[in-house]
């Protein structure tokens, strides 16, 4: 490995000014010890000059026994930037809720300084710790040190991706189920599906403790588990009065913003008709000391979210309207078994489960996984007459 003298980086240097913390400064800090980080800076400066990326297409690398967890990357001008000729990423499975001790972070830092560029992302969009940039021959050694320290790789490719969750009951009064336990249990249960890609395409699971959805499960997970409650919002009238006395305009900023139009404020008393409540969280968000989710808690299970490629972006839609707290994990595992069987059997190559549902129709999908249709699944019933009647329903 040659050690290039540092090349000037006049364009990137401009991104060391200004109040927001600078990623260029971070790369320069890593470059004090890592020639790879130094060359990354040079290569990035070249991209800024050329207005285009300098990473070659793809690259399949990994650790023994796994088919996922490592993203191979090679640059297209390796003679100029030999220390980033290979610059692979390892995805390291984050602990649920992204909690760490200082010692755990130091352990990760030490391993990565020994084997890689010393650059990380905390965190990747799916949730993993990203070890950014190393050579093929360092992958196995990095992996062995990681597992010895109690860390494992996360998912990539056509696999179960690393599940993630919001902070949940660890530090939030709104969590309707234990997202961190759910996420950790699920990750442990599907180690094989994470490390050895078995699917038509990627599959993501995310868990949010309430409809505020702080991990964007409804937008970014094929299976979205979102905490809700079934009974009445718990209400502390004295605390509501305190919010009013403190200047909150309850009629305008709470009641008028309620999508269920189920609240009334008469200047002294807040009345909620819980039958019309959509559990949107707004009133609870606005008055956290006065209003709380009910006590009969659980989760809604939604399916199908994805980014645009290929047939357009999708948000997840309701699959199971409510599962009691104690049955969430068992229900999800049963559903996953059925969904993966149907999807594995019928999906095309690189077809997300949301696109499969679009192609075969939700009714066929429900038949396939053995679920009964229910009105909570739709915003409204169909408005066209092109109905496929089942043979058994006609004489």
């Amino acid at each position: 490995m040659s050690n290039n003298p540092p090349k000037p980086t006049p364009l990137l240097d401009q991104l060391e000014t200004g109040p927001w913390p600078s990623f260029v400064t971070e790369i320069k800090r890593a470059a004090e010890k890592s020639p790879a980080a130094g060359d990354l800076l040079g290569l990035l400066e070249r991209s800024y000059e050329d207005k285009k990326g300098h990473w070659k297409h793809g690259g399949i690398v990994g650790v023994r026994g796994y088919g996922s967890g490592v993203i191979g990357r090679y640059n297209d001008i390796p003679e100029e930037f030999p220390n980033v000729a290979h610059f692979h990423t390892l995805r390291v499975n984050n602990p649920s809720g992204w909690f760490y001790t200082s010692d755990a972070l130091r352990t990760l830092a030490d391993i990565w300084e020994r084997h890689g560029s010393g650059l990380t992302n905390l965190h990747g969009s799916t949730g993993d710790i990203i070890f950014l940039g190393t050579r093929t021959d360092e992958l196995e050694a990095t992996f062995q040190e990681l597992t010895a320290a109690g860390f494992d790789l996360g998912g990539s490719g056509s696999a179960m991706r690393t599940p993630s969750c919001c902070v949940g009951q660890a530090r939030c009064e709104w969590a309707c189920f234990d997202t961190m336990k759910f996420c950790n249990d699920l990750t442990q249960a599907y180690q094989d599906e994470m490390h050895r890609p078995p699917f038509p395409y990627k599959f993501k699971v995310k868990a949010s403790g309430c409809p505020n959805d702080c991990v964007a499960a409804i937008a970014r997970a094929d299976l979205s588990i979102i905490g809700i409650w079934r009974d009445d919002i718990r209400q502390d009238d004295a605390a509501v009065a305190e919010y009013a006395a403190g200047g909150l305009n309850i009629a305008r900023d709470v009641c008028a913003r309620c999508p269920g139009q189920c609240m009334e404020w008469d200047g002294a008393k807040l009345t909620i008709d819980n039958r019309d409540c959509k559990r949107c969280m707004h009133c609870i968000n606005a008055m956290p000391k006065a209003l709380r989710p009910g006590v009969e808690r659980g989760a809604a299970i939604l399916i199908g979210a994805k980014a645009p490629i290929v047939q357009g972006a999708l948000l997840s839609s309701v699959l199971v309207p409510f599962v009691p707290e104690a049955e969430i994990e068992e229900t999800v595992r049963e559903l996953l078994a059925r969904i993966w069987e149907f999807w594995g059997e019928y999906a095309k190559n690189r077809e997300r489960v949301g696109e499969l549902i679009q192609r075969v129709g939700m009714s066929a999908f429900l038949d396939g996984i053995g679920l009964e249709p229910c009105p909570e699944m739709v915003a409204f019933p169909r408005d066209n007459p092109y109905v496929f009647f089942q043979k058994e329903d006609v004489k």
């Binding site: 200004g18 109040p19 971070e26 890593a30 800024y48 760490y100």
Partner: protein, 363 residues
Amino acid sequence: MTATQPPKRITDIGPPHYEKFLHPLIKRNYGQWRYHETLAPGVLCHVAESGERIYTVRAGSPRLLSVSTIRRFADLADKYSGGYLRFTSRHNIEFLLDNPANIEPLKRELQEAGFPVGGTNNSISNVVHTQGWIHCHSAATDASGIVKALMDELHPHFTREDLPAKLRVAMACCVNMCGAVHCSDIAILGIHRKPPQVRHDVPRKGCEIPTLIASCPTGAIRPAVVDGKRTVDVVEEQCMYCSNCFTVCAAMQMNDPENDGLSIWVGGKVSNARSEPKFSKLAIPFLPNNPPRWPEVVSAVTNIVDVYAANARRFERLGEWVERVGWPRFFELTGIPFTRYHIDDFRYAGLSYARSTHMRLRP
């Protein structure tokens, strides 16, 4: 013959159990929180049924961190929060303190080290973003550079809670939209504007041609034979430069420094609060790549933030505000020209057309 077995490899252990990393006060009050309040921008206090309180100090991070900065965070955690810290789903760092006397000294040290404290409630929190030219082969633009340039300008909204509601900004460097660009209040998206240049020597040896053909959302890729080699052609009129073909086949070269650039999207949200989750919609079809400071992008986003802040009501997210005042008024107030590119012409586009006479006519 007794072969010596190599030491057994450790695999399939999953992540460390989160309980090992929880502050003892959090462990004691797990699932038993009563309420929370905001003490200052970036500082939260959660109160448990037991009466115990945990204080959170949140700071912005560039997401891309060197191990030396990670060690610095570890040292700060040891000094102020018993060694306990976490990261948020928008890449901010949070220190978890049981002693409120440590809040101000920790804030001071974070700010002196260049990590602004904030990102809570009605602020512009951190920008969820992707790899860009730092690590991705399909990036139409850089991610980290744009985020830095933008947050230098918007950072007063990070450190104060001065907006009508929270405002999520996200950035993705191509239409794969890794992250939450498709559901953000303001989203910046790297795009191409020309069809791929096919390197006809590649498909035969490097790609599965049926997979390549199937990857095209508009069916623009056809099998072809060029110089006796099996390859593909692109029907250029049918291509909208999504680059999915390049993802499956290196032959489909997309990068074009002059024509690649950015588009701006608005009005998405993920939360169910008040209105249902929404996709982001196109506001500006194209802005040029102009490193290192991308001034066109920064001023376009700043303008949208300013117009929103001046016009939206309390608790009204950007998309909710636009739905109230109507898209014609959004384009009028922001001064953004409405073009043919704003009218959807992909599948089910008709669902987005004005299918009634419910118009808010302009004088």
